[in-house]
Subunit: 123 residues, 2 copies
């Protein structure tokens, strides 16, 4: 699911966008590349502190898109690459993954779990 | 409209997300912090090469959201800050701003112009 280049990007700091579809408009929240934790081959865990609108939206439509990139990792032709991830999301409030994330990120109130169906390098 | 801290972020490289609302789902495209050009106090110009879905969406609903940040600029409490911008977008295919952008970014086919109504620091 995730290429070596994707993991290279995770190792550089940057802004991740988490895009959900609301009733009337799209919503976007953010996290850092370094906050992304991969588990079970195709799942991404993200610590959530607020993310109120994100949670409201995914309760109606669980489809999410994430973008992540770094100008310090080589793309197809030039320095700088990025990825578009698509999948479905839910919020974890208990369980092993929740506990593991709580140990890493004590500020979280929930964990955003994204089951990734597609991870495309965009440039 | 734009704070000193916002300009500090523009001077650090990073991934910008451009979020539009489609008929069925949200869409997200990306650019680099360094590609953002400010004109007329409240307008952002972005070189557009593809951005096909973004253009289709804004022809129906011109509202856009942009996120931009840097881990190297101090936020409210810790290192790392980010901004959420809201506004309306259109694509320029001619005119002075188009020509000025074409000189800077010869790869562009159009210019995405965002008239910003709100620029909020989010952390």
């Amino acid at each position: 699911m995730f290429s070596e280049k994707f993991f290279e990007v995770l190792n550089k700091e940057g802004v991740v966008s988490i895009v959900t579809s609301g009733k009337d408009s799209a919503h976007v929240s953010n996290t850092w590349n370094s906050y992304i934790v991969i588990v079970d081959e195709n799942k991404i865990l993200i610590p959530a502190a607020a993310m109120i609108n994100t949670e409201e939206n995914i309760n109606i439509n669980s489809n999410v898109k994430l973008t992540i990139g770094s100008h310090e990792v080589m793309g197809y032709r030039y320095m700088g690459t990025g990825f578009l991830l698509e999948g479905t999301a839910k919020f974890l409030k208990s369980g092993d993954h929740f506990k593991m994330m709580m140990d890493k990120f004590p500020f979280l109130t929930r964990v955003l779990e994204v089951t990734v169906s597609s991870c495309k390098q965009t440039l």
